[in-house]
């Protein structure tokens, strides 16, 4: 049972200071690059100040959500390109179609054999539409189940990169059992006889995210969010007005630090100052290191331990009191 502390209040003015400092550092860095000048003597104290500031402040939750969605934020495939070799994308659910929002296949993750599962949002408009901005149909979850079968058969640890606003809320998705497909994926993942490490890399919206989130370890990037409902969805339910999303984001406690406090994730992966989109290579390095470290820690266990580890992890999540 988890009993979280009072969550922090937000400090928007300080964020403003932080942003200004970040801009100043970026300016100096680019000057250093373009002119060849050594500006480290100026940069070093500024960077130290930034580190202190970042530890002290919180952005508003809504600012985090916007950062998680910002144009240029790396999608799953941008991490995969940087962190894996020999990724072989496998397609299809063997029953209806191939979903492009939820993709996967075996790969070498920084040299480790894994089965990748990930929501892929798309990079340009056409790609985004094809992939429904990372919102999967039932076929996506059924493909995930099939790939988990293969992971078990060939002893491939599962690495899941979560980045979706939620499962696709379409008429046909309902016809083909969206809820059923998600439930089946959750159940299948809980039964994996290999270790699973999940990372929310951008958005973690509702059951559509959780469907591939049953990890022995669940990590989240610093500016990602994970919640039972999107801020917009909550706002339109509570205030009948999706413009109240900032207020809903506050109420939902959906940021990485919140989730760490709630015991829902094991680790927050630090992003480059200002967000992963400002330095994709550095963000990838941080993600790669964290996932690899957890994979290595889990490697020594038995299939029974991987199964029971996941079961115990999720069995105890929740907040209640007992009379």
């Amino acid at each position: 049972m988890t009993r979280p502390n009072q969550t922090r209040t937000t400090q928007t003015p300080t964020v403003q200071t932080l942003r200004e400092l970040e801009a100043r550092i970026r300016d100096l860095e680019s000057t250093a690059v373009s002119t060849g000048q050594d500006l480290d003597s100026a940069l070093t104290p500024l960077r130290a100040q930034l580190t202190r500031l970042r530890q002290q402040v919180s952005m508003t939750r809504w600012e985090r959500v916007q950062l998680a969605r910002i144009a240029g934020r790396p999608t799953a495939l941008e991490y995969v390109e940087r962190l894996t070799e020999d990724f072989v994308e496998l397609h299809g659910d063997r029953a209806f179609g191939d979903d492009q929002a939820l993709i996967g296949g075996p790969a070498l993750w920084q040299g480790r054999r894994v089965m990748l599962l990930m929501q892929q949002k798309g990079r340009d408009t056409k790609d985004k539409i094809k992939r429904r901005f990372g919102s999967a149909n039932p076929e996506g979850y059924r493909k995930a189940v099939r790939l988990m079968d293969l992971a078990d058969k060939f002893g491939l640890p599962v690495v899941a990169l979560i980045d979706t606003q939620g499962a696709y809320p379409g008429l046909e998705a309902e016809e083909r059992g969206q809820g059923w497909a998600i439930a089946e994926s959750i159940q299948r993942m809980s039964r994996l006889r290999v270790p699973a490490v999940c990372a929310v890399i951008g958005e973690g919206g509702s059951g559509g995210a959780l469907a591939i989130g049953i990890g022995n370890r669940v990590l989240i990037m610093e500016n990602a969010w994970y919640s039972v409902i999107s801020p917009e969805g909550a706002a339109s339910i509570i205030w009948k007005d999706s413009a109240k999303a900032p207020e809903a984001a506050e109420a939902l406690k959906l940021t990485a630090p919140d989730l760490l406090e709630l015991g829902i994730v094991e680790e927050v992966i630090a992003e480059p100052t200002g967000g992963a989109h400002l330095d994709v290579d550095a963000a990838a390095a941080a993600l790669g290191e964290a996932v690899s470290r957890h994979l290595d820690e889990l490697a020594g266990q038995s299939p029974e331990e991987w199964v029971s580890g996941r079961a115990e992890r999720f069995r105890k999540l929740g907040a209640y009191r007992e009379s």
């Binding site: 988890t2 009993r3 979280p4 009072q6 969550t7 499962a167 696709y168 809320p169 379409g170 008429l171 998705a173 309902e174 016809e175 083909r176 059992g177 969206q178 809820g179 059923w180 998600i182 439930a183 089946e184 959750i186 159940q187 809980s190 039964r191 509702s206 059951g207 959780l210 469907a211 049953i214 994970y226 919640s227 039972v228 409902i229 969805g233 909550a234 339910i237 509570i238 205030w239 207020e247 809903a248 109420a251 939902l252 406690k253 959906l254 919140d258 989730l259 709630l262 829902i264 996941r310 079961a311 999720f314 069995r315 999540l317 929740g318 907040a319 209640y320 009191r321 007992e322 009379s323």
Partner: protein, 297 residues
């Protein structure tokens, strides 16, 4: 008969959320608009004797309709907390207090042990009257405990789903109940104990995407709304009106998602038949010596 007894104990409600304008002994059926004598409704498992409309049931009435006699209650010791300090138009504790006062229950779930045609079962019944049957930490915990206890006691589990989805006020903690219930249900699966879910009006959101749909056999009530995304959200996505009967039990049967639609008045018989076939050992399980009946609020 349980229903008869129930009627004498309490005044039944045709359509609880809008009872203000309902006279004491007659109620208007929301489907056929006919006036129905409430005693007849109660005697008919809250199915309209005129048109067959299945009225929504709170968990207490549901237990009476489902089980031979009183339920031996397991749930009730787990209480919700406001872990997120959630505040919207009112605070989460205020909402909880209101729902608790209305239902006399700590949260939207009743679990326990009972009999169906003399077969012992564990029952987990969601209470739509408590905050729309929304699933938070308590609902998840109670279902998980019921599944585990059913496993230990060698009982099949019957789950009655009735829920608008996950409980927003618990955010990610609520989301995690989908996983928690799933892993706890392994206690039944490993022991080869049947798990049957009954989807009633409405069953939507996270409940549909977790424990309710991984049952061995899925029963639905006639006309029940069942789906993952809500109709309003889907309409916004597709920007056209939804077909008649969309996300209703009959639609889901046609699309292969449920095993059968069973009229509430036949459910006990069908469940007993299934339990005898899937798990003949249930036939031999004796009723517990002392049974604690749930009291009306």
């Amino acid at each position: 008969m349980a229903l008869d007894k129930f009627f004498r104990r309490r005044r039944p409600q045709v359509n609880p959320p809008s009872e203000a304008d309902t006279p004491d002994l007659w109620g208007k059926c929301p489907q056929c608009k006919e006036n129905v004598y409430l005693r007849d409704l109660a005697l008919n498992a809250y199915v309209c004797p005129n048109c067959g409309f299945h009225h929504r049931l709170g968990a207490t009435k549901r237990a009476e309709v489902l089980l031979d006699g009183p339920i031996e209650i397991w749930s009730g010791r787990v209480h919700p907390v406001d872990a997120l300090n959630f505040r919207d138009t009112e605070s989460y504790p205020e909402r909880l207090a209101r729902a608790q006062a209305k239902t006399g229950r700590p949260d939207a779930i009743l679990t326990g042990r009972g009999q169906i045609e003399n077969l012992s079962v564990a029952a987990a019944i969601m209470d739509f009257e408590f905050s729309g049957g929304s699933m938070g930490s308590v609902v998840g915990e109670e279902i998980a405990r019921a599944a585990e206890r059913a496993g230990e006691e060698g009982l099949p589990l019957i789950l009655v789903a009735a829920s608008g989805g996950a409980r927003m006020q618990e955010s990610a903690l609520s989301l995690m109940q989908m996983a928690k219930t799933t892993v706890a249900l392994e206690a039944l699966s490993k022991r080869g104990l049947p798990y049957i879910s009954i989807l009633t009006d409405p069953t939507t959101g996270g409940v549909t995407a977790s424990f309710a749909t991984i049952a061995d056999v899925i029963v639905a009530e006639p006309g029940a709304l069942i789906g993952f995304a809500g109709p309003r959200v889907i309409q916004q996505t597709i920007r056209q009106s939804l077909p008649d009967g969309f996300q209703r039990a009959e639609f889901l049967l046609e699309h292969g998602m449920v095993d059968m639609i069973v009229d509430r008045r036949q459910q006990r018989g069908e469940l007993a038949k299934l339990l005898r076939l899937l798990h003949p050992a249930s036939v031999g399980v004796a009723a517990p010596a002392s049974v604690q009946s749930e009291q009306a609020p």
